[in-house]
């Protein structure tokens, strides 16, 4: 079923048909109601001169505003959505990161003991994220949530102990090889870079041996911290490009 996009708050009769709108006259019910378009670009033939003043005024409104504010019954094409699973050991900052991406408070965040489902909006896509707790008791269930995913976000605490880093690596390998994830794009985040003892992205990439072990797969590894959300958003933008590319691939049997 198609997902509804943003719908103008004006509805019902009395809408305005916009030439250059993607709907043809048959689809646009406003046009069928016999309403003349007053949108600046391209006046309909036979428009009365008294409409010209109004249409010039409307010209001043940007085309984007016109499309949003005036009613054309169908919404503009919605942003693509991708289903993504977010995993990583406990304490790596998954819940915190997602809360910040959604501009929500991080007060009172405790270790996740199940899943957190959130729709995270980006300028050109929406990620429906299933974030899973990383405690021992929860991570054994991770694979129950893999089906239907289109991408994986794997979070690492860059300042964790060596033992933890080793465990992280094992979990990452497991995910990379899992039948339901092995063909999907991976975003690996070397998080918590604000910590003084944080390893660099290069060090982590080397330790994880991704150049060899993830060869042929689609992945990005980047350093980040919630102290710099602009960078986080840029990184997710890159990941979204990978997801889009994957989507456009012809599916193999």
């Amino acid at each position: 079923m198609g997902k509804p996009g943003r719908v103008s708050s004006l509805a019902g009769d009395g809408g305005l048909f916009i030439p250059g709108c993607s709907l043809d006259s048959e689809a646009c019910s406003a046009y069928q109601a016999g309403v003349v378009c007053l949108c600046g670009a391209g006046l309909l033939p036979g428009t009365m001169s008294e409409h010209i003043h109004l249409s010039l005024a409307l010209c001043r409104i940007g085309f984007y505003t016109c499309l949003r504010a005036l009613c054309c019954k169908a919404p503009p094409p919605p942003r693509p959505e991708f289903d993504v699973v977010c995993i990583g050991l406990t304490g790596t900052g998954k819940t915190h990161l997602l809360a910040r991406l959604c501009s929500e408070s991080t007060e009172g965040i405790v270790p996740t003991t199940g899943f957190n489902i959130k729709a995270v909006a980006f300028p050109n896509a929406i990620l429906n994220v299933k974030e899973l707790g990383g405690t021992d008791s929860i991570k054994k269930y991770w694979s129950r949530y893999y089906q239907g995913s289109q991408g994986v976000v794997f979070v690492v605490n860059s300042a964790c102990s060596q033992a933890e880093l080793e465990t992280s690596r094992a979990e990452l390998y497991s995910a990379l090889q899992h039948p339901q994830l092995c063909t999907l794009p991976f975003l690996i985040l070397a998080n918590q870079q604000d910590r003084p003892d944080a390893r660099s992205a290069h060090q982590i990439k080397k330790y994880f041996e991704l150049e060899t072990l993830a060869r042929g797969k689609s992945w990005i590894l980047e350093a980040c911290t919630t102290e710099n959300m602009e960078t986080v958003k840029l990184i997710f933008g890159q990941f979204i490009s990978l997801l889009e590319e994957k989507e456009q691939e012809p599916s193999r049997i």
Binding site: M1, K3, P4, G5, R6, V7, S8, S9, A11, G12, K73, D83, C102, S103, E104, T112, T113, G114, F115, N116, I117, K118, A119, A121, N128, K130, G133, I138, Y141, S143, R144, Y145, Y146, Q147, G148, S149
Partner: protein
């Protein structure tokens, strides 16, 4: 714009106004212990956005017909054309001890939190969390007219699950104004880990409402109502209700 939201007391005996005592289906309230073979596979979580008109291809049913059934399935409730007068199941059917512990709404355009309510855990004298079976079945929301101008609202629900893992948890929520279906929302959570606490934020796109309907909704508080049906392995286990005022006052 200002919003004011209140909720009813979520104590055990909260009932929707004017409702008779909830009747339940004749279904055996206890688990029959048999899991459907097909429910073994992990269901992926997905949202099925219902249309804002009658769902296509689903036979129309009445509440009375459903109450005569042993069990009620998701397809059954998708055929309901109006808000039910009664609860379609009793608290004893919630054998998985699903408990809703928090609810929050925010405006997606500005990120502003509009409303939040948390249910304190009920602790028995033995220190264990007691199962408060009737709590939270009904909520009354009081919004100002400005609420109807929102386009996208994020609604977060937090819930806990008991000892039994759940293979396929699904929610269908239907909003009506009088007898008109405004929006049907269908979300499959899929698998739920035993003894977990989970959150889910779903984005409500406000259906296109004509100025006329919005005026009526504002003018007639509590005639906007919703039924939330919860299914485990395609059987109804919980039914919550809510009603809504947009007039800005009690």
């Amino acid at each position: 714009m200002s919003y004011s939201c209140t909720s009813t007391d979520t104590r055990q005996d909260a009932k929707p106004p004017g409702a008779r005592n909830p009747r339940c289906g004749d279904g055996d309230g206890d688990a029959d212990g048999q899991e459907d073979a097909t429910s073994d596979r992990a269901e992926d979580m997905r949202v099925k956005k219902g249309c804002s008109a009658t769902d296509m291809g689903v036979p129309v049913v009445t509440e009375e017909e459903l109450l005569a059934n042993t069990t009620i399935t998701p397809e059954d409730v998708l055929g309901l054309q109006k808000i039910t007068e009664n609860y379609l199941c009793g608290p004893d059917q919630n054998i998985h001890n699903i408990d809703f512990t928090r609810f929050k709404i925010r405006d997606m355009e500005t990120g502003t939190a509009l409303f939040e309510i948390t249910k304190p855990p009920s602790i028995g004298s033995d220190g264990k969390r007691t199962f408060d079976s009737n709590a939270g079945r009904f909520v009354r929301y009081q919004f100002t007219p400005a609420f109807l101008q929102l386009r996208q609202v994020g609604a977060t629900v937090e819930f806990t699950v008991g000892d039994i893992p759940i293979n396929n948890f699904r929610m269908i929520e239907r909003h009506y104004f009088r007898e008109q279906l405004l929006k049907s929302f269908d979300f499959e959570f899929g698998f739920c880990i035993p003894n977990s606490k989970n959150t889910c934020e779903h984005i409500y796109e406000f259906p296109p409402l004509s100025e006329e309907i919005m005026r009526e909704m504002i003018r007639y508080p509590y005639e906007t109502q919703s039924d939330s049906f919860y299914f485990v392995d395609n059987k109804l286990v919980m039914h919550n209700k809510a009603d809504y005022s947009y007039s800005g006052g009690p």
